[in-house]
């Protein structure tokens, strides 16, 4: 009974903000690969793609791509960590498995509905008032997300 109630509360916590913001006027982009969260993880790589850690490292530090450095601190030599909002990603791969990391990059609000971290492969229909150049788009492409994950799993 208690567990059931917890489940409902949790579902409400996840769904209410999502429904509240849904802008279903935009269509899903053709190449959008859907994903599924099971046990707080996304098991399968997006679109079945393989990632490249070297490319991932570049995406993570590029202000126009991942823009990750805007928030969390990353252990990248030569780049001053310039955001202090997110947690340090040092040792992230010893704390989480690859599928657990994937859900956090794809759309971390499946873990914490109040998170401020953008979902990098969030369903674009859930984005409220996207700017004109960004309509119907994800923050990163599926390939870029997989590259970022390939890099993050090296951070043991």
């Amino acid at each position: 009974m208690f567990i059931r109630a917890c489940k409902i509360i949790f579902l409400l916590a996840v769904l209410v903000p999502i429904l509240g913001l849904a802008d279903d006027t935009a269509a899903l982009p053709e190449n959008y690969c859907s994903w599924e969260v099971v046990d707080y993880a996304i098991e399968k790589p997006l679109c079945g793609l393989g990632g490249d850690a070297q490319r991932g490292k570049k995406i993570v530090s590029d202000g126009h791509l991942g823009n990750c450095l805007a928030c969390p601190q990353l252990p990248i030599d030569g780049i001053e960590a310039y955001g202090t909002i997110g947690p340090s990603l040092d040792g992230i791969a010893s704390r989480f498995t690859e599928p657990q990391i994937r859900v956090r990059i794809v759309d971390t609000r499946n873990i914490n509905p109040m998170s401020i971290m953008p979902g990098f492969y969030r369903d674009p229909r859930l984005i409220n008032r996207p700017g004109k150049p960004y309509r119907g788009k994800t923050f990163l492409t599926a390939q870029q997300v997989e590259d970022v994950i390939a890099y993050l799993v090296t951070l043991k």
Binding site: C6, F10, P118
Partner: protein, 258 residues
């Protein structure tokens, strides 16, 4: 598994409380407190502060009878605006009974200009920004004192909702940055409380004077969101809410900001 779920619930309810918690009055801080010492020095020195050019331009426009106009602003408000009531400038944006809505300082100036036969200008025309900057600077040091009761109460609730809504691909709300994280760094910038007391302010980043509504639009663009249009109800509500958060702060126009 159970404890894992409970953990998530507890965490999210905790974050919910943090994210919506009010900014208590004694914590209100001007953007001045977050900028670098060199930027403060620039703001404080009238000869160094690039915003003073706009103040001077506004003063010229204020004192001169423009083409087609029957009077100059100074005919009613005194040469250099010396007869203006700085306390009422510090009340803006105000509630207007006739329009049953919010009137910004720029809108009031624009209405006055039109009444004396000037050619009407679009919102945020450089001349209007210059006049707004000049008039607001007249009230430099005065305490921001936006009405929060009466018909404003309901408008402020609406403004606050807009402030707490997520926008754009970055998918964050204003409150995430400006209520949760002031003092933290984002993209190498120290985040302030997003107060309105320094506006119109000179922005080092773009090398221009911007008023509060334009600054809000710039933040929305940064969030990869579609900015609210000039004169839209949303931007007026958001501008009102931001300025009401600044109640108690001193007017710093023209501030120098990132």
């Amino acid at each position: 598994m159970i404890s894992r779920k409970l953990h998530v619930i507890l965490l999210s309810s905790f974050l919910l409380v943090v994210a919506t918690g009010p900014l208590s009055a004694n914590e209100v801080k001007s953007g001045y407190e977050y900028i670098k010492p060199a930027t403060r020095a620039m703001q404080d020195d009238d000869f160094e502060n690039p915003g003073m050019f706009t103040v001077e331009r506004g003063m010229e426009l204020f004192n001169e009878k423009q083409h087609g106009a029957s009077k100059a602003c100074s005919d009613c408000h005194g040469i250099d605006g010396l007869k203006m009531d700085t306390k009422s400038i510090a009340r803006y944006p105000v509630y207007n009974e006739e329009e049953a809505g919010i009137v910004t300082l720029q809108k009031s100036i624009s209405n006055c200009r039109n009444n004396i036969g000037n050619k009407a200008l679009p919102t945020n025309h450089p001349d209007l920004i210059a006049l707004e900057t000049f008039v607001r600077n007249r009230a430099f040091g005065e305490t921001v004192n936006v009405q929060t009761d009466g018909p404003m109460a309901q408008l402020l609730t609406k403004g606050k909702t807009i402030y707490q809504t997520r926008y754009g691909l970055i998918d964050m709300s204003c409150s995430h940055c400006h209520s949760l994280y002031p003092g933290q760094m984002i993209r190498g910038q120290k985040i302030s409380q997003g107060q309105g007391n320094g506006f119109p302010a000179y922005r080092l980043d773009i090398g221009e004077i911007t008023n509060l509504h334009q600054r809000i639009q710039q933040c929305l663009t940064l969030m990869r969101a579609e900015p609210f249009a000039a004169d839209s109800e949303e931007i007026k509500l958001l501008g009102l809410y931001l300025m009401s958060r600044s109640n108690g702060l001193k007017i710093e126009t023209p501030a120098v900001r990132y």
